[in-house]
Assembly symmetry: C2
Homo-oligomer: 390 residues x 2
């Protein structure tokens, strides 16, 4: 266990499992709950590290799958590691690569040893195993590494989910062994799976908890399942996770997912939604979502969100932002990403503040009350047209 | 003549026509010589107004052609004018729309009254005349407007160049009449033409000078002609332009064009090259250009230009920038634009400083000396692959 890594719970909500805490890593302190902007290939898309610092981001996420293929972990290592390569001085967490292997690489062959797949960049064969994933994440030099897991889809049969879960447990042990052999300032988090079967979710969280990682994640959610199934799975997992350790809810989600995750004890969140949906012209606000390409904003002189303090809202009208999106101006992507990241960071920053003040239940109620008001006011709720932006 | 507009020459080079001056406009002071980043459709592509302020840009250019079509001058006016619309607090100059009508709209019909053309956005018929151009630029609310001119191509026969020049003169008178009827804080600059016939260039500059605009531009250069023809045309025009007024050399160019324009008395410059070529991966440095996609930069840990103080050079390696370009990351466009704009702004800022200190001839010599050294060192000189970025 790394000496520079610590987690300390500062305050707990009386009506839920939500809590505020402080994570200490080699690259800095992280007040929790925390949202981690996703820096896929060594860049949070359309946003620079100085933007992230101005936004108050405290930790970002990198994707092992993308980085191992482009530009390659060895190259990043030779250039001084991911922090230096991308000029981000704060903490970095990398996923294990597993999720993207399952979501992006169609031709894959799983076996006990690992997974063979074809790169989504050039079709070349690549092999990923628990040991290889740890090796890559170590080469990247990040603060928090994740175990390689297998993620079953939704729906999946109980047998499938169980088989996949067992493999994930064996891989977690191998990741742990492999990491033990390593050194440096990194820590390794475990990931539990279990599909949408609460008893499997609990068993998986127990099995991973036994390996005594310094932090534990819940993976394999937000695959298209209804909210209730998602929350049942999360609650079952939470029961078996050490409440003194940070809990990371992987890949979720919309603001509603995050606020519900908070209530169920999650401390760390990441998702591409604020940046990806932003690049498609969807803006998040306290009153709901707003699809800026909508003709109703053609001459709208108001900011996207009058209560938001981000550069975009302080400077530009909806009409201007719509103009940028309608004409494919590159600035559009940045301004939307800045706003949406600020929204997500504020959502969690506000929750933290409320937790420290003991007013989280009011914060939670107000969150839904604001959304309800937005619907009453006829906010468009940001239905995206499906023009895909990568 | 607008009362808030002034121009004052502060220093002159003893060996050339280069000079340093100060322009006063309603939206602020502009130390000259000055480079104006091009904000085509109400945005300098991939760069935000706060970036421009950090870079030290003092005035930007907007394109009347694009703005009249997208989002429309009336809409910009209803939203408070171009400064407010794009959140740029400093001075703005707009061109007249003429150049883009000639370069972008293939189906056009010229007559004495004006030009009918089809919008390059949607093919709809549009009419532009001297009066209409002034009306649009007035609606945009900019600080410096330009007369509508006709730009002949290269090569063009003497007869063509002369006919087009005469039309430009008649249009300049109409623009002036139209502008006189207007009001506000705007000024109108004249533009001389004359193709690549020095005697026509001189006649045109004289004809425009007679109309006594507060500033005078030389248009119709950088159309593919050799450097010598360009400079002869410029020198001929300069002879007839009032040396107490600011001279604007339109649409030029590469750093060599700018330094030669400086020596021939130009005070104001604009060009899309730093931003457009930046978006294609071409970086400008004191030692010449650098095409960042080149495989030689794959593991190059050095900044693009070790002498440059821009955010890009202070933060990122060539290897990282190449990675961004190779993978189509949107951040690439911004980082390259920031660097190249800084290069152009520094080129002119350095020239101004040298002029004030009386050391411009040394500055000029060093400029070429640095380029020569770059070639000796095997700098790639940034040959662009022709993958077009808009």
């Amino acid at each position: 266990m790394n000496r520079s890594f610590k987690f300390h719970v500062e305050a707990r909500d009386s009506g839920s499992l939500a809590r505020a805490g402080l994570l200490t890593t080699a690259h800095g302190l992280i007040p929790t709950p925390v949202f981690m902007p996703v820096g896929t290939r060594g860049t949070v898309k359309a946003v620079a590290p100085d933007d992230l610092e101005r936004l108050g981001a405290r930790i970002i996420l990198g994707n092992t799958y993308h980085l191992m293929l482009r530009p390659g972990a060895d190259l990043v290592a030779r250039l001084g590691g991911l922090h230096k390569f991308m000029a981000w001085p704060g903490p970095i967490l990398t996923d294990s690569g597993g999720y993207q292997v399952f979501s992006l690489s169609k031709l894959r062959k799983m076996n006990e040893e690992g997974v063979d797949f074809r790169s989504s960049y050039d079709g070349l064969k690549v092999f990923l195993s628990p040991e290889r994933s740890i090796e890559i994440q170590s080469a990247l030099g990040v603060d928090i590494m994740m175990c390689l897991d297998e993620c079953t889809g939704y729906p999946a049969s109980r047998a499938e989910a169980e088989k996949s879960m067992e493999l994930t447990h064996r891989w977690a042990r191998r990741c742990r062994e492999s990491w033990r052999a390593g050194e440096g300032d990194r820590v390794l988090f475990g990931i539990s799976q279990g599909g949408f079967y609460p008893d499997l979710r609990k068993r998986s969280a127990e099995a991973i908890a036994e390996l005594d990682f310094p932090g534990q994640a819940v993976g394999g959610l937000a695959l298209g399942e209804p909210m209730e199934e998602r929350l049942s799975a999360l609650e079952a997992a939470r029961e078996a996770i050490d409440p003194e350790k940070p809990m990371y809810l992987m890949g979720l989600g919309f603001p509603e997912d995050i606020i519900e995750g908070l209530r169920r004890g999650a401390d760390m969140f990441d998702c591409v939604i604020p940046t990806r949906n932003g690049r498609n012209g969807q803006f998040f606000t306290r009153r709901g979502r707003l699809a800026i390409r909508n003709a109703r904003y053609r001459e709208d002189p108001r900011p996207v969100d009058g209560e938001c303090g981000c550069y975009t809202c302080r400077s530009f009208s909806r009409a201007y932002l719509r103009h940028l999106f309608q004409n494919g101006e590159p600035l559009a992507m940045r301004l939307a990403s800045l706003h949406n990241l600020r929204y997500y960071l504020d959502l969690l920053g506000g929750a933290r503040e409320a937790l420290l003040k003991g007013t989280f239940s009011g914060y939670y109620t107000e969150f839904y009350e604001n959304l309800r008001r937005g619907r009453e006011e006829g906010r468009d709720q940001g239905t995206l047209n499906r023009r895909r932006v990568t």
